[in-house]
Every structure is written in structure tokens, then in C-alpha cells.
């Protein structure tokens, strides 16, 4: 609900005043979208992401091999017309596994980051807006989480919850909460000083309502940027947890897990590592490019 963005009235009768000099009947959304189309690296990032989303959604239906289809006769085969990315030590088609892996990685990234955005923003909003003891408690909580190196904390959490993709997701969500929380808090501290917040108070608006209507919609753009960048980190963290065996469990074709499974063949059959590695790299690159682009576009100082 918070994101009820300004949608522009689409009805045409509004056009008569198109001769006014202030004429720019477009919302912030359309503005951003247009700038995004003009921003080259953001576009490249966006295309990469769309490509991965596309293959994750569609391609499994088109593949000749299942990702768990073991073929003992064709173990560790080099890339060929049959197996584009070659096969692993159990004769499974790496191309199929990498594509199914996109599903897992995007899924994990999406839910983990959504989780941290929701929890972090909520805590940040409360801390920034109400201040006082709430701020002290929440901010110290963030400090505690930030005191540990992220991946170490994730390992600890997964170790506690037990290895598995779902628990890895929770762990990644938790370690990213302070990033979003602090960002939101700092935005809220700035926005709540704005005159329109005072004006809203002066017409008798409730605090909770001001929070949702005035503070949140004016605070979430940096969260969006950070969310895109965080997505990349989350994919990487999921792969890292998979690599050390705490994330996805076999036979799930998680990219990090695939890397660690094929460590011993790095010299004899390098394709077993190269392709999952490239997949991770491109996904992370895509989100980073898009995130950087969004940051440029949404930063008011960068405008014209």
C-alpha cells in the first residue's frame, strides 16, 4: 500500500492547458523510466536481468534434459552440440542445471531481499520517526548485526537453523536487515524535518498516517536502489552458502553448490566450473549495473 505511486490521470480532457509553460504531465515514475532507457549501463544491466528471468521462467520447458537426469555413459563430457555446456561427473547436462539454477538463485535473492527490505524499512521507519527509546533499541540491534561480517553471521544462522536453501534464505534476509534499516532511518530523519510533515501535523493528521502517507513515499527511492544492489549480494551470498554446503542441498542445481561439487575437476573438466561461475557473475553484474544506474537516475544531484 505504501507504494501507491502517483499514477497520472490518463483521461484526455486534461489536455487544454498543454500550452502552459509548466507543462510536463508525467509522474516521477515515467520520468524515471525514461531516464532508465537513456542510461546505457542500467539498460545493459536490465537486459541481463530480464534475460535471466526469462530463461528461469521459460527455458526449463524447452530443455531436452532434466537437470537431474543422470547419464553414466556421458560423464564429464566437454561442451558439444548435444550438451552445450558439457556434463558433470554424474553425466548431468550442465546447461540444464545452470538454467534451473537461475530459478533458485533469483528466487532466493528475491525473497531474501524482499524480507530484509520489509523488516529493515519497518524498523528504520519506527526508529527514525519516533526516535527516543525505540530508536536506541533498534539502532543498537542494527549495530549488533553489523558487528559481524555478513557471511559469517549467515553461516552462524544457518548452522543454528540447519543447512538448506530455505534457511539460507532466512539467514541472508537477516544479515541484510541493518543495511536497509539504517538507510531508511536516515531518510526518515531527513524527511520528517520537511515542511509538509509539519503542515500535515497542523491540519491534524495522526502520526501513523503521516508516516505512511508523507514519510514513506518520500523515503523509499534509496531503498529501491539499495534493493537492486542487495539482490546481487544476496545471489552471491546464496552461492557462497551453497558452496560451503550450508545452502542448497544436492541434487538441487544451485550455482554455488555446482561450483563446489566440481572443484576436483577444475583441471580435467573446467567447464563444470566455468559455466555456473559465469552465471553467477552475469547475474551479479546485471543487478549491479541496474542498481548503479538507478542510483544515478534517482539522485537529484545528478539531474541535469
Amino acid at each position: 500500500m505504501s507504494m501507491n505511486a502517483p499514477t497520472m490521470p490518463t483521461q484526455e480532457p486534461m489536455q487544454p492547458m498543454s500550452n502552459s509553460p509548466m507543462e510536463e504531465k508525467e509522474s516521477a515514475w515515467q520520468d524515471t523510466w525514461r531516464a532508465l532507457l537513456r542510461h546505457r549501463s542500467a539498460m545493459i544491466g536490465g537486459i541481463i536481468i530480464l534475460f535471466f528471468i526469462f530463461i528461469a521462467v521459460v527455458a526449463p520447458l524447452l530443455l531436452p534434459f532434466g537437470y537431474n537426469q543422470i547419464d553414466a555413459d556421458s560423464r564429464l563430457q566437454a561442451p558439444s552440440a548435444d550438451h552445450w555446456f558439457g556434463t558433470d561427473d554424474l553425466g548431468r547436462d550442465i546447461f540444464a542445471r545452470v538454467i534451473y539454477g537461475a530459478r533458485i538463485s533469483l528466487w532466493v535473492g528475491f525473497f531474501a531481499i524482499t524480507g530484509s527490505i520489509v523488516a529493515g524499512s519497518l524498523l528504520g521507519l519506527i526508529a527514525g520517526f519516533y526516535g527516543g527509546w525505540r530508536d536506541v533499541i533498534i539502532s543498537r540491534l542494527f549495530d549488533i548485526l553489523l558487528a559481524f561480517p555478513g557471511i559469517l553471521l549467515a553461516i552462524a544462522i544457518v548452522a543454528m537453523l540447519g543447512p538448506g536453501l530455505e534457511n539460507a534464505m532466512y539467514a541472508i534476509a537477516i544479515i541484510n536487515i541493518p543495511t536497509f534499516g539504517r538507510l531508511m532511518r536516515s531518510r526518515v530523519l531527513a524527511v520528517k524535518q520537511e515542511d509538509f510533515v509539519m503542515a500535515a501535523l497542523a491540519i491534524g493528521m495522526k502520526n501513523s498516517r503521516i508516516l505512511l502517507r508523507h514519510v514513506l513515499p518520500n523515503s523509499w527511492t534509496p531503498i529501491m536502489v539499495q534493493g537492486t544492489l542487495g539482490f546481487a549480494t544476496a545471489v552471491l551470498e546464496a552461492a557462497a552458502l551453497g558452496f560451503i554446503g550450508l545452502g542448497a542441498q544436492p541434487p538441487e542445481p544451485e550455482w554455488g553448490k555446482m561450483l563446489s561439487d566440481s572443484r576436483s575437476f577444475i583441471q580435467s573438466a573446467p567447464w563444470t566450473m566455468i559455466f555456473p561461475g559465469l552465471a553467477i557473475m552475469f547475474t551479479v553484474l546485471g543487478f549491479n549495473l541496474l542498481g548503479d544506474g538507478l542510483r544515478d537516475i534517482l539522485d537529484p544531484r545528478m539531474k541535469q
Binding site: 502517483p6 509548466m22 503542515a199 491540519i203 493528521m205 502517507r213 513515499p217
Partner: protein
């Protein structure tokens, strides 16, 4: 004579900071009657904004704290009201407009959206359509006739238009009191005049009392019936606008009037009151204006003058015009004699 609408007496609003207590408002008395336009004048930092925010209950507490006095609005004591009751009054019976129209509207929502919200905040039974119609009507009453404005974003309007929207928003619930905190300061002169006209018109039509906070004596002369001059957290003079301009009694008021640049005053340096506003953490003993006052006497530096009537409807806080001066002089002489 109209009934008293707002009666602030001996209001003390203090801020507790790390470096000590700042007495931003220190014993202020202000009365506003129904349908009246009262000007509240003073330099930056003299406490006029804090006074008005105290009335609205918008001073964050802490660090602010009402250290004494009372605010009676429409017979109700505001200082003891709960936050919730105050919130019900705000926007409904009293409203406020601010100095910066450019930033007083939320940039991400349309004007219509924000006005409908403001209307439905206090009139819950009104449907969205009805509220939209009311909003349009309110915009017309402040001189915005263009229909499309409801669907425009704040950045598409000029400063003057935005201030009109703010006024329309403040007036939708027909408040009894409108506090205007320097509503024209950020606007250019022609727009200023329009906004002042508009406020006078609304005052006449709706009988809404206006407490006009400003440092611009031109605005006061233009709009107000009565003027209250504040200095360093206190009221120093109060009179009807004619008397005050013609016959200011307090040296500070006189200084303010002298500071207005005049066109016929060629090749002369502009007048300014010497010195600076005292530090609110460290107020001078005696009269707070004494260090800057050209008429300062011994008594001024020793004893704080009372706010005392000079003639009918004219009060001033100055020993020059006080009947108690001789008594105070005697006290001081007595004190110095006994201490030496």
C-alpha cells in the same frame, strides 16, 4: 465587542538543551478576539514562531516544555489537553499556514489527493467525490479557478499558487483561528499583495480570526487591526495598528519603525538598531532591550519593567512610560545604599 477566541497568558515555553535551558517564550500574553486580525511582530528568534507552535501544540516535547502560563482557546484550556484532543482541534478549529509554500506540500501526491485527505481527516462522512467537489470549491475561493489543478503535482505550481493551495487546505474546515507564520515572506511583492488580499477576504467572509506572524511591518500595516511586538521571548508593546505606527512607545518598536527603508530618504545610511538580540541562554538583567536602547537608564539595567498600560488599548514594557518607575528607582537607590 467580539468574544475572546484565544487567550494566552503568561505562557512560558522553555527548551531543555544540553547547554542549559533556553527560554524561547518567557511570559507572553496575547489575546485574539473572534474575527480579528492580529499581527505578531518581532525579529528572528524572538519567540513568535514558538508562541504560535505552542498554541497549535506542535512544539516537540521534549525538548520543549511549557513551564507556566495558560493557553485558552474558545474557552478550552489547551496546555492540559491530551495529544489526541489537540490533534482533533488542529485543522478543524484552528489551522496554520507556513512560510515556505514551496516545501509545504508533499511532492509525491497531487493537489487533489492532498486536499481530499485534509477534508476527510475531519469530515469522515464525506465521500471521496464530495470531498473532491469541496476541494475544488475551496480552491475557487482562494482564486484558483483552473479545474486541472486538482490533478497536478506541487512542482507544477508556482509559489503563490502553492500558498493559495495551503490556505485553501487550512480553510476547508472553517477554522475559527488561522495562524499564519510569515505566509508571504517567501513570495515576491506582487504575489504578497495578492495573498494578503486573499487573507483579508477570507477573514471577512468566514469571520476566521487570523494571527499573522511576520517581521514585515508593511504586511502588518496592510492587514492587521492590532499589533503585538515581541522581543526576546516577551511582549514589549501592544496597540492598535494606527497608534503603534504613529506613536510607538517602546524604543524597540520605534527602532523597528525607523528601520523601514524609505524612498524619500536619499543618500542616508539605512537605520538599524545597534547591537544584537541577547542570547536566550543568558538574558541581561533588567530590561532585555536595555543593552541596545538609546534611552536606557539605571533602572533599566537593574529591574525588569512590567507590561503596563499607557493609554486605552496601548500597553508597553518600558520604564520610560511606567508609573512605577519612581518606586523602582527608590528601590535601586535603597539597594545600592544598603549594599555599599
Amino acid at each position: 465587542m467580539a468574544n475572546t477566541l484565544l487567550e494566552i497568558s503568561e505562557l512560558k515555553m522553555h527548551f531543555h538543551t544540553d547547554k542549559g535551558v533556553v527560554k524561547a517564550v518567557d511570559g507572553v500574553d496575547i489575546t485574539v478576539r473572534e474575527g480579528e486580525i492580529v499581527g505578531l511582530v518581532g525579529e528572528s528568534g524572538c519567540g513568535k514562531s514558538v508562541t504560535s507552535l505552542s498554541v497549535m501544540g506542535l512544539v516537540p516535547q521534549p525538548p520543549g516544555k511549557i513551564a507556566g502560563g495558560s493557553i485558552k482557546f474558545n474557552g478550552k484550556e489547551l496546555t492540559t489537553l491530551s495529544a489526541k484532543e489537540l490533534q482533533k482541534l488542529r485543522g478543524n478549529e484552528m489551522a496554520m499556514i507556513f512560510q515556505e509554500p514551496m516545501t509545504s506540500l508533499n511532492p509525491v501526491f497531487t493537489i487533489g489527493n492532498q486536499m481530499v485527505e485534509a477534508i476527510r481527516l475531519h469530515k469522515k462522512e464525506v465521500s471521496k467525490q464530495e470531498a473532491r467537489a469541496l476541494a475544488l470549491e475551496a480552491l475557487k475561493s482562494v482564486g484558483i479557478a483552473r479545474d486541472g489543478v486538482l490533478d497536478e503535482y506541487p512542482h507544477q505550481l508556482s509559489g503563490g499558487m502553492r500558498q493559495r493551495v495551503m490556505i485553501a487546505m487550512a480553510m476547508v474546515c472553517n477554522p475559527k483561528l488561522l495562524i499564519a507564520d510569515e505566509p508571504t515572506t517567501a513570495l515576491d511583492v506582487t504575489i504578497q499583495a495578492q495573498i494578503l488580499d486573499l487573507m483579508r477576504k477570507l477573514n471577512k467572509e468566514t469571520n476566521t480570526a487570523i494571527l499573522m506572524i511576520t517581521h514585515d511591518l508593511g504586511v502588518v500595516a496592510e492587514l492587521c487591526e492590532r499589533v503585538i511586538v515581541m522581543y526576546a521571548g516577551q511582549v514589549v508593546e501592544e496597540a492598535d495598528v494606527r497608534t503603534l505606527f504613529k506613536n510607538p512607545k517602546h524604543p524597540y518598536t520605534a527602532g523597528l519603525l525607523k528601520s523601514i527603508p524609505q524612498l524619500d530618504q536619499r543618500r542616508k545610511r539605512l537605520y538599524s538598531i545597534p547591537g544584537n538580540v541577547p542570547n536566550p541562554r543568558n538574558m541581561p538583567k533588567g530590561c532585555r532591550f536595555a543593552p541596545r536602547c538609546e534611552f536606557a537608564m539605571e533602572v533599566c539595567r537593574e529591574k525588569e519593567p512590567e507590561l503596563s498600560p499607557i493609554e486605552k488599548n496601548h500597553i508597553s514594557r518600558c520604564w520610560l512610560h511606567s508609573e512605577q518607575k519612581e518606586e523602582a528607582d527608590r528601590d535601586i537607590v535603597g539597594n545600592t545604599a544598603s549594599s555599599s
